[in-house]
C-alpha cells in the first residue's frame, strides 16, 4: 500500500502535467487549479491506501471526471464531448510522411534529428496552441497516451471508451498535429 511519502511523491510527479492538461481543456487557470486540487483530494481521500502502481490510472480517471464535472457545472459539457463524426474532417489522409514533417534525414538517426528540428523550428507555445486546438476527445487520448504514457487499454479505461476509439483518436490527433506543424514549417 502507498505510504504517505509515496503518495506525496506520486502527486508531485504528476501535478504540473495535470494542471496543464486541465488548462488545455478548460482554458482557465483558476478552474484548472481547482480541478487538480479536487482530483488530488479525491485520490487521497478515497484511494490513498491503494498500492502505488494503481495510483497513476486512478488519478487520470479522477482528473478526467473532475474536468467533466467542471464542464457539467458550466453547462458546456457538449464542448468536451465532440461527436466522433465531427472529427472526421480534421485529418487529411493524403498519406504525408510523418518523418518528413519531423525533418528526418535518415531512418538511423531520425529521432534525434527530428527532435532537434522540431525544437528548432517550432516554439513551445506553437505546439501548445495546436494541442489546444485539437478536438477534446482527441486531445485527451493523445495526452493520456503520450504524455501520461498510459497504454492503450489504460487510456481506454480512463476515457471510458473502447481501445479502438483510443487508437483512432490518437491517430487523428497525430495527423492533425503533424499537418499543423507541417503547415507552420512551410510558412515563411
Amino acid at each position: 500500500l502507498a505510504t504517505e511519502r509515496e503518495l506525496s511523491l506520486f502527486l508531485q510527479s504528476v501535478e504540473k502535467r495535470a494542471f496543464k492538461r486541465s488548462l488545455y481543456h478548460v482554458r482557465d487557470e483558476e478552474a484548472a487549479l481547482d480541478i487538480v486540487q479536487d482530483s488530488m483530494m479525491k485520490l487521497a481521500e478515497h484511494y490513498g491506501d491503494k498500492p502505488p502502481d494503481e495510483l497513476p490510472l486512478l488519478f487520470q480517471r479522477i482528473l478526467s471526471n473532475c474536468t467533466l464535472d467542471w464542464f457539467r457545472r458550466r453547462k458546456t459539457r457538449q464542448s468536451l464531448f465532440v461527436n466522433f463524426s465531427d472529427a472526421q474532417g480534421d485529418a487529411d489522409d493524403d498519406g504525408f510522411d510523418l518523418l518528413e514533417v519531423l525533418g528526418a534525414a535518415n531512418t538511423d538517426g531520425w529521432q534525434q534529428s527530428a527532435e532537434q528540428s522540431l525544437m528548432q523550428s517550432q516554439t513551445m507555445a506553437e505546439i501548445e496552441i495546436e494541442i489546444e486546438k485539437l478536438p477534446p476527445r482527441q486531445r485527451e487520448a493523445f495526452l493520456l497516451r503520450y504524455w501520461e504514457e498510459l497504454d492503450i487499454a489504460e487510456t481506454a479505461s480512463a476515457m471510458g471508451c473502447s481501445e479502438g476509439s483510443v487508437k483512432t483518436h490518437c491517430f487523428r490527433a497525430i495527423q492533425t498535429l503533424a499537418n499543423a506543424l507541417k503547415t507552420k514549417r512551410s510558412t515563411p
Partner: protein
Amino acid sequence: MKPSTAPSNEDQFGHIVASALSANLEQIPYEVQERLRAARMRAVAARRVAPI
C-alpha cells in the same frame, strides 16, 4: 519474453511532441507551482489509511 517491436512513426512523433510539452512545464508560473504544492500537501494530509 515478448518480441520487441519498433515504435511506429506515429508513436515516435507523439512522444517527441510530449517531450516538448514536458520541457515547457518549467514555464508554469511560480505562484501556480506553489498552489499545486499546497494542494498536494492538503491531499496527503487527508490521505485515507487502510484499517488495520
